[in-house]
């Protein structure tokens, strides 16, 4: 429906969540006011909106407080333009309920519409249409603003893009789960039937309850075919093994004469056979998941492996988990592509989860990347199927509660899996850096067990790894940081749907220019209003610094050092320390040895240097290095300490005055006076 048509026919309410939704900015500051003026209409808000906005200005975190401040100014502008009206029930402090009651009361008299980002609230409002004995001719319409800033209809508590995803792989479990909180089960199933377009029925496997016994029982196999030989298959007849594509611990993978791929084990166990049969039993059709398509047999009819579709691309680790690999393989990517890649991967994980299939061994060696929108999941025969566990795993993707447990001895839960999913999302957006890699700290396993997440959030400063990783973090949106922080520091687990939603809004923020699109930002985020340009005292390059930081440095009479120089100084210092540590330990002794060898009188290879000479040379280079820069070595030290100060405030360095500005006070006064009436 056209916005103008909607405003002409309906009384439109806008909920706080939409007022504060960053992606709604364009709609709410441009399109809506213009349409209202043209139609000479007003939108309605409840008094709750004013209360909540005021509360966020005072108590919200920086990003939210900024958004709330803008909203307050906007509300004031709406008031000035006479395009807004406040609905308030002074006797009822529970505004959601008041609005619902009001909608209930007037829905037969007036055509009503609500705009909200809140799924549960949307559902409650939608449900009014079904309640009461009187079937109204007026249907209450419920809308949200999507990540592209467009006004969209909620449909039984489901967003448009989610419906698209549902119809593409026919799933609704995730949303149904979300809705459970506010509705009973009968109601839910009725709704999801209504919301669903024609779709195949999902056949979900039962979740495993206990590890199957006798897993290692080996089945007798007289011969495992290899390259050049043929295999028999149920589904594709007899096939030739054309070429060995790869070899692993469990067996080999061959390209076959029909273009598909055959995995042949080096030994066949009962567990493998039974698991494959279960996997083949359920309807499964998802592009990019190399699911078993048929068993494969040798000439004697003994099962020796399975058929699957061919994958394409390179394993994730080698496609993109280093700056130079990423730049080589995907030179045109920017950050938006990384987010889209994560969404492509999550879409497949969701398909599996909807069927109660737990991947288990999520890691960058069994996902292959062709492009951001084309990926392949391989090694699917290791997935956890009912009571057959995934027998393998890696530390980085194992949650704290399962660290040290032997992968083949327990059944993973969705909670376990969700930790792995969060880790994969993190390592996709920070190409290759595991979430718990940090300065100091213990082994990866220890860091995970202690939930020592090193990136700064709120009051937590963190000891994040040096370099670009901190900058990437600083450019994440507040919501994304919060989500990672909750996942890795507070051990909260989020569903695949949660991550999809999170990343869609992050992607939108990037596309709208609200968040940095660079994969490798060169510095922390500094908001424009606080940015000052300074000259690096070391390399004379221009760079941007937070105003407060500059003031601090000025007050202390310190130099401005750019990030590249800070990094260089730290690296130089660390590597000089390393050289010094090994040379001092041995100087005396090795010189003695040198003297001793000279008496043997044989030649020492010209290329090699004795240890003490090496370290002397390194130190000379270090001195040359600090001389070559304009700063003295003391300024290099300062730079390093400055680095610490710099990074300690490396959450977005955006500072707002806590006191509401005058204009805002006027706005609040106006609304208060309105409320009294």
């Amino acid at each position: 429906m056209e916005l103008k048509a909607l405003l002409d026919k309906y009384i439109v309410f806008i909920d706080t969540s939409t007022w504060l939704y960053p992606e709604a900015n364009d709609w709410i500051t441009e399109q809506l006011p213009q349409a209202l003026k043209e139609s000479e209409k007003r939108v309605r808000i409840s008094g709750k909106v004013v209360e909540e906005v005021t509360k966020h200005i005072k108590n919200g975190d920086e990003a939210l407080s900024k958004q709330a401040k803008q909203t307050a100014q906007l509300l004031n502008q709406y008031h000035k333009d006479e395009i807004i009206e406040v609905y308030q029930d002074p006797d009822d402090p529970f505004q959601d309920q008041a609005i619902l009651a009001m909608f209930m009361k007037y829905r037969t008299k007036f055509p009503l519409a609500m705009v909200t980002q809140d799924r549960n609230f949307a559902l409650d409002v939608e449900n009014l249409n079904k309640q009461g004995s009187v079937q109204s001719t007026n249907t209450i319409l419920v809308f949200y603003i999507d990540i592209f800033g467009k006004l969209m209809r909620w449909d039984y508590g489901v967003k448009e893009h989610e419906k698209r995803m549902q119809s593409s792989h026919s799933s609704h479990q995730g949303q149904a789960g979300d809705r459970n909180e506010r509705s009973d089960r009968n109601d839910k199933s009725e709704r999801s039937e209504k919301s669903s377009k024609p779709k195949e029925k999902i056949v979900a496997l039962p979740l495993g309850t206990k590890v199957e016994t006798g897993l290692d029982t080996e089945l007798p196999v007289s011969h495992f075919p290899s390259e050049g030989e043929s295999v028999r298959t149920d589904a594709f007849g007899e096939l030739q093994l054309m070429k060995e594509l790869g070899k692993g611990g469990e067996g080999s993978v061959f390209l076959t004469s029909n273009g598909m791929v055959c995995k042949i084990y080096t030994k066949m166990t009962k567990a493998r056979y039974e698991k494959l049969k279960l996997m083949l039993d359920i309807p499964f059709n998802k592009e990019g998941i190399c699911w078993p398509q048929s068993l494969a047999y040798n000439s004697k009819g003994e099962c020796i492996g399975y058929m699957m579709s061919a994958a394409s691309g390179k394993v994730m680790q080698l496609s993109m988990f280093h700056k130079k690999l990423l730049e080589k393989n995907f030179p045109h990517w920017n950050r938006g592509h990384l987010v889209e890649l994560a969404l492509t991967i999550l879409d497949k994980i969701k398909y599996l989860h909807d069927r109660n299939i737990i991947i288990g061994d999520i890691n960058p060696f069994n996902i292959m990347i062709k492009d951001y929108n084309e990926v392949y999941f391989v090694d699917t025969d290791s997935y956890q199927i009912v009571n057959y566990p995934c027998p393998v795993g890696t530390i980085n993707f194992t949650p704290p509660e399962a660290q040290g447990m032997r992968y083949h001895e327990y059944l993973r839960t969705f909670e376990h899996e969700q930790f792995a999913v969060a880790t994969l999302v993190f390592m996709t957006l920070m190409p290759g850096k595991p979430p718990y890699a940090q300065q100091g700290g213990g082994t990866p396993g220890e860091n995970i067990k202690n939930m020592e997440f090193p990136y700064p959030f709120g009051d937590s400063k963190g000891n994040a790894p040096d370099g670009v990783w901190r900058y990437i973090w600083s450019h994440f949106t507040y919501k994304l940081k919060e989500k990672f922080y909750q996942a890795f520091a507070e051990n909260k687990r989020f569903s695949t749907d949660d991550w999809i939603q999170m990343l869609e809004s992050y992607l939108y923020a990037i596309k709208r220019g609200h968040s940095n699109d660079e994969i490798w930002p060169m510095s922390n985020k500094v908001s424009e209003e606080n940015a000052v340009e300074v000259t690096c005292n070391q390399c004379s390059s221009q760079f941007v610094m937070h105003e407060e930081k500059k003031n601090d440095l000025d007050a202390q009479g310190k130099f401005y050092i750019c990030n590249a120089c800070l990094m260089k100084n730290k690296l130089t210092r660390v590597q000089r320390d390393e050289a010094a540590a090994t040379s001092s330990a041995a100087t005396g002794k090795s010189q003695a040895t040198t003297r001793r060898t000279s008496s043997f009188g044989t030649n020492t290879a010209a290329k090699t240097t004795t240890r003490s000479a090496t370290s002397a040379a390194m130190q000379a280079r270090a001195r040359a290095n600090s001389r070559s820069s304009t700063a003295s070595s003391s300024s290099a030290r300062m730079g390093a300490s400055g680095n610490a100060a710099h990074t300690s405030s490396s959450t977005p360095v955006v500072v707002f005055t806590p006191k509401p500005p005058g204009l805002l006070m006027q706005g609040i006064k106006f609304i208060a006076s309105k409320i009294k009436k």
Binding site: Q317, T394, D466, D577, F600, A624
Partner: protein, 223 residues
């Protein structure tokens, strides 16, 4: 850049967990002839193999310490792309104890560098190769390696070359795994095995129990 060796940007840019490997090689006078030639070929092959494997080249960091008359760190830890492999020449006596001590210092310092920059790493590997017996006191060095190995902070591969290699000495460095004698002068097979083991290791996560590959192709199993 003028200070290339001191300024290894890859330490920060590369997110892969590192496997520091220190080769502690006997280059004493007795290694002259075929032995040193084969060793040089083996080391060269090792560097090439690691360089050619995308994963190993991002993970492995290699240092070489020789003991032949003097103890020298002939290759310092660095990104393998920037390293050159020296030609080793045999000379002098066999200060094995001092060499192992230096190797442990060098590995410890490297780990400190990783930790202070926030780079994940595996506990280091130390390859000790000799064709004879030490000419200095090894008890201190052997005590250090034994302690590290018992605490899972080091993996050592002690390799004896030829009939004169004093295996009981090598045993002192290695409380868990017995030393292995190289089959003939099969250095190439050994270093191929080592690079493949590093590749396997680099596909795991630090702390995971990754067993090195079976050692058959290069070991003298008649020992």
């Amino acid at each position: 850049m003028a200070n290339l060796e001191l300024f290894d940007q890859d330490l920060i840019d590369n997110p892969s967990a590192r496997v520091p490997v220190c080769l502690v090689l006997d280059t004493s006078g007795s290694m002259s002839g075929d032995k040193i030639d084969e060793l040089n070929r083996g080391v060269q092959l090792f560097f090439n193999e690691v360089r050619e494997d995308e994963m190993a080249s991002l993970s492995a960091e290699i240092s070489i310490i020789t003991f032949g008359g003097t103890v020298q760190q002939v290759v310092e830890f660095a990104n393998i792309e920037n390293q050159t492999v020296p030609n080793l020449t045999p000379t002098g006596r066999t200060p094995m104890g001092e060499a192992v001590n230096l190797a442990l210092d060098v590995l410890e310092a490297r780990k400190k560098t990783y930790a202070s920059l926030g780079v994940d790493y595996y506990q280091p590997w130390l390859v000790l190769m000799t064709d004879g017996a030490p000419t200095d006191d090894i008890t201190g060095a052997a005590r250090r390696t034994s302690e590290l190995i018992q605490n899972n902070k080091l993996t050592i591969f002690p390799i004896g070359i030829g009939a004169e290699a004093h295996m009981p000495t090598l045993q002192q460095f290695s409380p868990k795994l017995p030393p292995v004698k190289l089959k003939g002068l099969n250095f190439n097979e050994f270093f191929l095995w080592l690079s493949q083991s590093i590749t396997m290791k680099s596909q795991s996560t630090p702390g995971e129990d990754v067993k090195a590959l079976p050692i058959n192709p290069w070991a003298d199993l008649t020992l």
